[in-house]
């Protein structure tokens, strides 16, 4: 029987043709040139991904990160804003603009909807270089001919990273003076606190930060995170400072470190008594922090400021220093910071 497609040579050549098809497709794709939109260069900047970005005249801006939206407002650039991500919630003026539909939501921060961004006809998109999905969409933005600038955003680790974002935005919008002022103020405030902390004659407290209640898992922030930095610069010792990223701890590890202060962050609604009950039922109740009543719950804006590296960094450092050294800096009088015990 002469079925040709059963001969080995036939099959082998078939497979070769298939792989050739892949190769051809790849070749065509690689030499396909994306559309070049002619931009009248006003300034060329280098963004956090190391790209040279040519900025022309900017009139409509979309921000893809909550800290980025805060920077835009902090520099007084809110008139340019036409779109923000779902997580952006500060300052209050932003919520007014959204309610009056002058600014629209474009999807979630960790997965923005590119169509909604395009629908707003932005002249510049300020993206968060710390979010994988946003970095992945880079080629898509470029293909569509949309100018996108990647800030450090959520990948900021310390006050200098935040300030570099602020200055970059200032450069792009020609408000470098304002950016410089704001940056010096923020750095100055943070340095003041850290200097004062260094001169304090008390041993540094050991701090445990729990991201969410213990029932969710004992997630903490490692030394190379923004939270780790805030603790460090406020004069605390993060018990997870030797770890990186957002690891999970065990009760044993926590008890062997015996933290002096425990901070719990919470995003949603707060039920203080149920949190207290939950904590009393865990081994955390055997820590020094518990015995001395130094367990705090950060909610609302305080929570946002701690987990979001932005222009309010000096405020959260101030709050943290008060929590760690109340005898030096005073007691925290904010409604969104709760003392869980006592």
């Amino acid at each position: 029987m002469g079925y040709p497609y059963m001969k080995l040579t036939y099959v082998a050549s078939l497979i070769l043709i298939l792989l050739l098809g892949v190769a051809i497709g790849y070749y065509v794709a690689v030499i396909a040139v994306p559309p070049h939109t002619e931009v009248l260069e006003r300034v060329v900047v280098v963004d956090s991904l190391g790209r040279y970005v040519r900025i022309g005249n900017v009139s409509r801006v979309v921000s893809l990160g909550p800290s980025i939206s805060e920077i835009v407002f902090a520099l007084g650039l809110e008139d340019y804003l036409v779109g923000v991500d779902d997580f952006s919630n500060y300052p209050g003026k932003l919520l007014d603009l959204i309610n009056s539909s002058r600014v629209k939501y474009v999807g979630s921060w960790w997965s923005p909807d590119i169509e909604r961004v395009v629908a707003l006809r932005p002249s510049l998109v300020l993206a968060d270089g710390g979010v994988y999905r946003q970095v992945m969409l880079r080629s898509k933005f470029e293909e569509l001919g949309i100018s996108v600038l990647y800030l450090r955003g959520s990948s900021c680790r310390d006050v200098y990273d935040v300030v570099s974002d602020i200055k970059l935005v200032g450069m792009v919008f020609n408000v470098s003076g304002r950016a410089e002022e704001l940056s010096s103020y923020i750095i100055g405030s943070v340095n003041n606190i850290s200097k004062k902390v260094l001169s304090v004659n008390v041993s540094k407290p050991k701090v445990l930060v729990l991201l969410g209640p213990p029932s969710l898992g004992l997630y903490t922030a490692g030394g190379n995170t923004f939270v780790g930095y805030v603790i460090e610069v406020s004069g605390g010792i993060n018990i997870a400072r030797g770890l990186s990223g957002w690891p999970q701890l065990s009760y044993e590890a926590i008890l062997s470190e015996d933290p002096d202060v425990i901070l719990i962050t919470s995003m949603g609604d707060v039920n203080l008594s149920s949190m207290r009950e939950e904590l009393l039922g865990t081994p955390l109740s055997m820590t020094k922090a518990f015995r001395e009543g130094r367990v705090y719950l950060l909610t609302g804006e305080a929570n946002d400021m701690l987990v979001r590296p932005g222009p309010r960094i000096h405020l959260i450092v101030d709050i943290m220093s008060k929590l760690l050294y109340p005898e030096v800096f005073g007691v925290v009088g904010r409604s969104d910071v709760y003392k869980v015990l006592g």
């Binding site: 098809g21 794709a29 169509e115 999905r133 992945m136 293909e143």
Partner: protein, 332 residues
Amino acid sequence: MRRYVLSITSLTVLLIVVFFLSISVGVVGLGLKEVVGYFLGATYDPLLKSILELRITRTLASALTGASLAVAGVLIQGVTRNPLAEPYILGISSTALSVTSLVLMVKPSLINSRTEIMLYSFLGALLGFTFTLMLSRLGSSGLSLVLAGVAVTSISSGISHILLYLLQSVLRMPYVYLLMGSVSPVLKSDLPILTSTSVLCILASLLIAKPLNAYVYGDEYSKQLGFNPRLTLLTAATIASILTGITVGVVGIVGFVGLASPHICRYLIGSDHRFSLPTSALVGATLVVFSDIVVRTVSVVVRGLGELPLGVITAVIGAPFLAYLVLRRVRE
């Protein structure tokens, strides 16, 4: 035969309808007139043009992904003589992920280069298939292929999970997102690769349809008819892996389509591979395009969720339909 012609025509019509629906649905509602006009060469303002291009890219990518995975599913189910088999069992998805995460750990800046990442995913997928082949001694039987596939998938799944966990601190994101496929980052320039590979492979699979028909009845039967079962196995498995590999590279991991589409099309027109291969392609394409419509609709309507992963929606849509078919068959 009449049943086949009926099914093919209605599925093609359905696909065309869903295709155009997919291009019109979204934040900026587009009417049928504008969509058709675009194809006929009418000019629009840049915004409309961008939105149309975005949607057409997505829809084409979804359709091709669905068709590829569905055809791969039919081939794999035939070759392993197992109706529960699906394209990723030959060690394809986990090895692709392992290779990609390893590469990203060694050179994190590669995240900026989409084409390179795609290439590594595709090569990783083929590498996984090669390991499976080697382990099953070049496909000595369908069963050995499945078992080898399970072994390779398990090993590389473990490796990929470890690597992805470590990669979390490099990429600063929960690693589950890397596991989820999505059509939105697909570029226009990715479409030639996807199209050429998928179309060529699907056409090639039609050539293997007759031998595959004989193969499912057993090695002996197949030999008596003059076919070489081993060669059938190898060819079909290779075509299936190339198809799956290219979708993993371009779109990512989209589950369930490869499992459900062959069943749906078998329910429609039976198990003759000459008919089930093209029908399954249409079913798969329609399923994934429709899932993408759902993804986009949810993103517009529900705040704070962002874009859901495509694989989740394909499962949510496909599973009840499959359950319905199974129930109907069981009742008979």
